[in-house]
C-alpha cells in the first residue's frame, strides 16, 4: 500500500476502506460467535467462542494497533505481556487440571 497521496481526500478514503474492511471482519466474527454459542457441539462450543475472541483480538492488535508494522522493540514490549500471561495460565492450569484428573 502506497503511503504517498496527492490529495487529503484520497488519504481519507484509503483509511476508511482499510479500517472499514477490518471493522466488517470484526462484525462478521461477532455474528459468528453469537450463532455458534447456540449450536450444541460439546466442548467445541465454548472453544469456538475463545478461538473467535483470539481472532478478533488479533485483528485489533495487528491492524488497528498497527503492531504488524511496529518496530521490534515495540513488538517485544507487547509480547512480554502475552508471554508472562501464558506462564501464569500454564502453571496454574497444570495444577488445577491434574488435580481434577486424579478425582
Amino acid at each position: 500500500m502506497s503511503m504517498q497521496s496527492t490529495h487529503p481526500h484520497t488519504t481519507a478514503w484509503r483509511l476508511w476502506r482499510r479500517n472499514g474492511l477490518i471493522w466488517a471482519a470484526l462484525m462478521l466474527l461477532l455474528a459468528l460467535t453469537l450463532v455458534l454459542a447456540y449450536v450444541p457441539m460439546g466442548w467445541l462450543t465454548p472453544a469456538a467462542g475463545i478461538v473467535i475472541a483470539f481472532s478478533k483480538a488479533g485483528l485489533v492488535i495487528l491492524l488497528f494497533m498497527e503492531l504488524a508494522k511496529a518496530r521490534p522493540l515495540i513488538r517485544l514490549a507487547a509480547m512480554a505481556g502475552v508471554v508472562f500471561l501464558a506462564v501464569l495460565f500454564a502453571l496454574t492450569l497444570a495444577d488445577v487440571l491434574s488435580r481434577l484428573a486424579g478425582r
Binding site: 497521496s5 487529503p8 488519504t11 481519507a12 483509511l15 476508511w16 482499510r18 479500517n19 472499514g20 477490518i22 471493522w23 470484526l26 462484525m27 461477532l30 460467535t33 453469537l34 454459542a37 447456540y38 449450536v39 450444541p40 457441539m41 462450543t45 465454548p46 467462542g49 475463545i50 473467535i52 475472541a53 478478533k56 483480538a57 485489533v60 492488535i61 491492524l63 488497528f64 494497533m65 498497527e66 511496529a70 518496530r71 522493540l73 515495540i74 514490549a77 507487547a78 512480554a80 505481556g81 502475552v82 508472562f84 500471561l85 501464569l88 495460565f89 496454574t92 492450569l93 488445577v96 487440571l97 481434577l100
Partner: protein, 214 residues
C-alpha cells in the same frame, strides 16, 4: 502538513525519539494491564472448570442482547479511534476527520456505559448479586456473578478513563490548543482505547455465551 517542533517536549531532542518512547511506554503499561485482567480471567477459568454446570446456568441468566450490542459498540469505537490515529499520523491536514472520529469514539464509549447501566439495573432487579438474596439456586453461580461484577466494573472504570482522555484530545484539537497532525498523544490514547476493547472481546464469550445450548 505541519511542523513537529511544536510537539517536541522535554527531555527529548528529536521528535522521532519522543514518539518512539511514548509508544514503547504505553505498550509496557498495556502489557501490565494484560496481566491484571489476565489474573481475573484465570480466576474465572479455574472457578468455571470446577463448577461447569453452575457457570452454564449463570451465563444463561445474563442478557445476551445487551452484551452483544455493547460488543458491537466497542468494536465500532475501535474503528473510529483507529481512523483518528491513522489520519493524524498521515499528516495531511485531515482536521475535520480526526475531530469527528475522536468525538464519535467518545460518544460510542458513553453509549456502552449507558447500555451497561441498563444491564446492571436489570441484573440487580433479578437478584443476580451474590449474597443472602441471590436469585439462582446453584450456590456456585455466585462465583460467576461475583467475578461478573468485579471484571465488568473494573472494565467500566478503564473505559471511563479512556472517554475522559479522548474528550480531552477532542477539545484541545477543536480549540486549537494543540496540533492534531502527527501528535503522538492521539496514537498513545488510541492504543489504550484498543486494549480496553480487547479486554471486552475476551469478556464477551466468557460472560454472555456459556450455557446457551441448553
Amino acid at each position: 502538513m505541519s511542523e513537529t517542533t511544536s510537539l517536541l517536549k522535554e527531555p527529548w531532542q528529536y521528535f522521532d525519539r519522543q514518539r518512539e518512547a511514548g509508544t514503547f511506554g504505553i505498550w509496557v503499561f498495556l502489557a501490565s494491564e494484560l496481566l491484571f485482567f489476565g489474573a481475573l480471567i484465570l480466576t474465572y477459568t479455574v472457578c468455571r472448570i470446577e463448577n461447569v454446570a453452575a457457570f452454564a446456568a449463570a451465563g444463561r441468566e445474563t442478557n445476551i442482547w445487551y452484551g452483544t450490542i455493547n460488543t458491537a459498540i466497542l468494536l465500532t469505537s475501535s474503528l473510529t479511534m483507529a481512523m483518528a490515529s491513522q489520519a493524524a499520523a498521515a499528516n495531511e491536514g485531515l482536521r475535520r476527520l480526526i475531530l469527528w472520529c475522536l468525538a464519535a469514539t467518545a460518544a460510542l464509549g458513553l453509549a456502552f456505559l449507558v447500555v451497561k447501566g441498563f444491564e446492571y439495573r436489570e441484573d440487580i432487579e433479578r437478584h443476580l448479586v451474590p449474597g443472602a438474596h441471590f436469585g439462582l439456586k446453584q450456590t456456585a453461580a455466585q462465583l460467576f456473578f461475583g467475578l461478573y461484577w468485579i471484571v465488568t466494573g473494573v472494565h467500566a472504570v478503564h473505559l471511563t478513563i479512556g472517554i475522559i482522555m479522548v474528550v480531552r484530545l477532542t477539545l484541545l484539537g477543536y480549540l486549537n490548543k494543540f496540533q492534531l497532525d502527527e501528535n503522538p498523544e492521539i496514537q498513545v490514547t488510541g492504543l489504550y482505547w484498543h486494549l480496553v476493547d480487547i479486554i471486552w472481546i475476551f469478556l464477551y464469550p466468557l460472560i454472555y455465551l456459556p450455557g446457551r445450548t441448553s
